[in-house]
């Protein structure tokens, strides 16, 4: 099981500012290990962020997102105390969901 995401959600004016750091290898499938064997691709393909039952961001990723992916974005319609829920799913069927409570500005 992958490590939890680190999520920060803060009010910035009337918007919620979200920063998330995920723990994932993001193997491209192009890299070779010490013995010269190709390391199979293992990467996050889908990311969804929701708040108060509404999707506020969704993404499809390829292998060229950096290891331990980072994402920063802003959305309207959240308030302090609301939960921001982030889920990812990778190409091996692993998935993880974490949430954070929006802090005041």
């Amino acid at each position: 099981m992958a490590d939890p995401m680190r999520i920060r959600a803060n009010m910035a004016g009337d918007k919620v500012e979200v920063r998330v750091l995920m723990a994932h290898e993001m193997e491209t499938g192009q890299r070779k290990d010490a013995s010269g064997a190709l390391v199979p691709a293992h990467f996050i393909q889908n990311v969804t962020v929701s708040c108060a039952g509404r999707t506020v961001l969704s993404a499809q990723w390829g292998t060229s997102i950096s290891k331990n992916p980072f994402m920063h974005f802003r959305f309207k319609g959240g308030k302090p105390g609301d939960k921001v829920t982030i889920s990812w799913a990778d190409n091996k069927g692993e998935r993880r969901t974490d949430e954070a409570v929006i802090a005041g500005g």
């Binding site: 918007k15 993001m26 491209t28 192009q30 890299r31 070779k32 290990d33 393909q45 889908n46 969804t48 509404r54 999707t55 506020v56 961001l57 969704s58 993404a59 499809q60 990723w61 390829g62 292998t63 060229s64 997102i65 950096s66 290891k67 992916p69 980072f70 994402m71 920063h72 974005f73 802003r74 959305f75 309207k76 319609g77 799913a89 998935r95």
Partner: protein, 152 residues
């Protein structure tokens, strides 16, 4: 000879139907993943796979990234669109093994702004492709890479 081809076509069709079924059931669990688009190897091919017939260059898309990236494995990129009703932002890296890096869907209420970190194999143009109101726009920026991020 011809019979064989028919057989293969039929088998292929059956596989496609099966794959479609699998995709459909997977979609209820997760979201779809545009495999065809992520396998493209050029700016034009990616645009096509994303469903864009044509894209207009726009100075209303701002790409913020270093001019020179010392480490190609971690290149921070911020894309901000000032185009009204921006619905999606995609990041394309022209000289990577696969061009498309990420495709973000921006629902109403979310700022057309995204920061993430990408890998770059070598010095290349980065394209930000924005879908707004069903139309496509793009901007480009060259980033020089001193150490590639895809080898070992």
């Amino acid at each position: 000879m011809d019979f064989k081809r028919r057989g293969i076509l039929k088998a292929g069709g059956a596989m496609l139907a099966l794959a479609a079924g699998l995709l459909h059931s997977a979609r209820t669990l997760a979201q779809q993943w545009n495999k065809a688009a992520f396998e493209t190897k050029s700016f034009a091919a990616t645009l096509k796979a994303l469903g864009a017939g044509a894209s207009t260059e726009s100075n209303q898309i701002q790409i913020t990234a270093p001019d020179i990236a010392e480490n190609g494995a971690v290149v921070p990129i911020t894309i901000e669109s000032a185009i009204l009703r921006t619905q999606a932002i995609a990041i394309l890296i022209e000289k990577n093994p696969n061009t498309l890096s990420a495709d973000f869907e921006i629902p109403e209420g979310t700022d057309p702004f995204i920061t993430t970190r990408v890998k770059m194999a070598e010095t290349s143009n980065i394209y930000a492709v924005v879908r707004a109101d069903g139309k496509y726009f793009h901007a480009a920026k060259e980033i020089k890479v001193t150490l590639g991020g895809c080898g070992g």
